[in-house]
């Protein structure tokens, strides 16, 4: 799923303080799971902003709402007439949602209340870890199911660098060295010989945006 964390409150306040009618608009899918941008978080953020407005002596009408997804128009189209009544939408969706809503909303600005981070797993409740970089050219079959693009600080393709340190990364003891994990996994799978093959330089053109694709089957049917 897509993960994100709420921006520092002061940064959010500085975005909204000069507007008169603000909607904090949540998304109940990915960012709700990481407790950053679902309906509940939108409600809490709206009430914190109302308190701050009162403290600063500002008169701002601040409401909240949420839909299931901000990344497909059909999920928010039915509420757009109401959304357009505001002079600012503070979105707690991921960046995808902010972009798409901006395309559909007309002359109302949409600002981000969260920093969208990565495609993450939830190894334990409340903990999110980057496992995939969406590079467009998957090689997990070569690396024991452990992604060096996402999980090695240097996205190395041929083994650990000199910074590998007792199983940790030189960048932080909290980051596991992806290549030690890959080595152990390949050993477990009895595939160490495969790890000895040189992986050629990656085709990064597939990782660079703007990217889009169309489902081929649907295109055929349309024809």
């Amino acid at each position: 799923m897509i993960t994100g964390e709420q921006k520092p409150f002061d940064e959010i306040w500085n975005m909204v303080k000069d507007y008169k009618k603000v909607l904090v608009f949540g998304c109940n899918t990915c960012v709700a799971i990481c407790h950053a941008g679902g309906g509940k978080e939108a409600e809490i953020l709206a009430s914190l902003l109302r308190m701050r407005a009162a403290q600063e002596g500002k008169t701002i009408e601040i409401n909240h709402a949420a839909v299931e997804r901000h990344c497909e128009p059909e999920f928010f189209q039915s509420v757009m007439d109401n959304v357009r009544k505001y002079d600012l939408v503070l979105s707690t969706a991921c960046g995808v949602g902010v972009n798409l809503l901006s395309e559909h909303i007309g002359d109302v600005p949409v600002f981000p209340a969260i920093n969208t981070e990565f495609f993450g797993a939830v190894p334990r409740a409340g903990e999110f870890t980057e496992f995939c970089a969406g590079c467009g050219n998957c090689i997990l079959h070569l690396t024991g199911g452990i992604c060096p693009i996402a999980r090695c600080s240097k996205s190395l393709l041929n083994g650990p660098c000199g910074g590998t340190n007792n199983g940790s990364c030189e960048v932080s003891p909290d980051i596991k060295c992806a290549w030690v994990l890959i080595y152990d996994r390949m050993k477990q799978l009895n595939k160490l010989d495969q790890m000895k093959e040189i992986n050629d330089a990656k085709d990064w053109s597939k990782a660079q945006g703007p990217r889009n694709f169309k489902v081929k089957l649907l295109e055929e049917i349309k024809k």
Partner: protein, 293 residues
């Protein structure tokens, strides 16, 4: 004699680092070049070492060359993509720089521009392959170039990496990708290094042992705790401690000289790479004590 010829001749080679400074005042660097000239075989110029921004390795290699020493161009993959790396390789080649050390490069997190975007478009193994291709007149995309390069390519290895096995997998890939010489991370445990060499000798490459002078017991302890792949054995730390503060540096120099002498006399490896880290002035003394001058 070129670096390759020196190593091929069987002479015990000595390389030392020239660290480009941050800023345009290069008086001290010139002094280091003067001190090392005629003593060491080649000067190895670091590339934004520890991810700290400095004068480019390529520019300083040219200065080294113009001042009568053969340079090794250190090239990391952190700051340039494949286009920039190849362009600089061609640039080095036409300037007369023909030795290159291919490195992945310390993460920007270690340096003084922590917010920089790391590149790592390619990494050390792939860079070695790029060099090999350019030596054969082809760029990385397979395009013919008007005039190829003639690089003697090297790489690094950490004999005491923990765990060691994945490091050795990478070492073997570097050999396969065209590395002809290796310099190691600093080594202090001669017995361990001997057993590493028993393994490394199976490959057709020249090995230069990394030497970093211990300035104090504190420095040794610091490295043991903080520098991946470096282990200073307790007996050396005790030796430095026993020497006291006054004589610690002298003792560190003696240890380095002793190790170099042993590596040479017992023909354990093909040379040493001395990383003086601000003590370039002491390199000739170390070499003298090791019986190399």
């Amino acid at each position: 004699m070129s670096f390759k010829d020196i190593l091929d001749s069987g002479k015990f080679a000595v390389t030392a680092e020239i660290g480009p400074p941050k800023g345009t005042d290069i008086k001290e660097m010139y002094h280091h070049i003067e001190v090392l000239k005629g003593k060491i075989d080649v000067a190895n110029v670091t590339d934004n070492q520890s991810a700290v921004m400095r004068i480019s390795s390529l520019a300083v290699c040219k200065i080294v060359l113009d001042n009568g020493m053969e340079p090794v161009l250190q090239m990391t993959c952190r700051d340039r993509n494949r286009i920039g790396l190849q362009a600089d390789l061609l640039g080095a080649s036409v300037l007369g720089i023909h030795n290159v050390l291919c490195l992945t490069g310390d993460h920007v997190n270690a340096g003084d521009h922590k917010q920089a975007k790391s590149v790592y478009d390619v990494e050390s193994v792939q860079l070695l392959k790029i060099v090999e291709g350019m030596n054969n007149g082809k760029d990385m995309s397979g395009n013919d170039m008007k005039g190829g390069t003639n690089f003697y390519a090297g790489a690094v290895v950490t004999p005491e990496a923990n765990p060691l096995e994945p490091q050795l997998v990478k070492f073997e890939k570097k050999v396969k990708a065209g590395a002809k010489f290796f310099q190691t991370q600093a080594i202090y445990d001669m017995e361990k290094f001997k057993s590493f060499m028993a393994y490394a000798r199976k490959f057709p490459v020249k090995m230069l042992a990394g030497i970093v002078v211990l300035k104090s017991a504190g420095m040794a302890n610091f490295m043991n705790k903080n520098v991946p792949g470096i282990t200073v054995p307790q007996d050396l730390i005790d030796e430095l401690k026993a020497a006291g503060k006054e004589k610690a540096l002298e003792t560190g120099i003696n240890i380095a000289a002793r190790h170099i002498k042993m590596l040479k006399d017992e023909k354990i490896c093909d040379g040493v790479h001395i990383m003086a880290i601000g003590m370039e002035d002491k390199v000739p003394m170390i070499m003298e004590k090791a019986g190399l001058l």
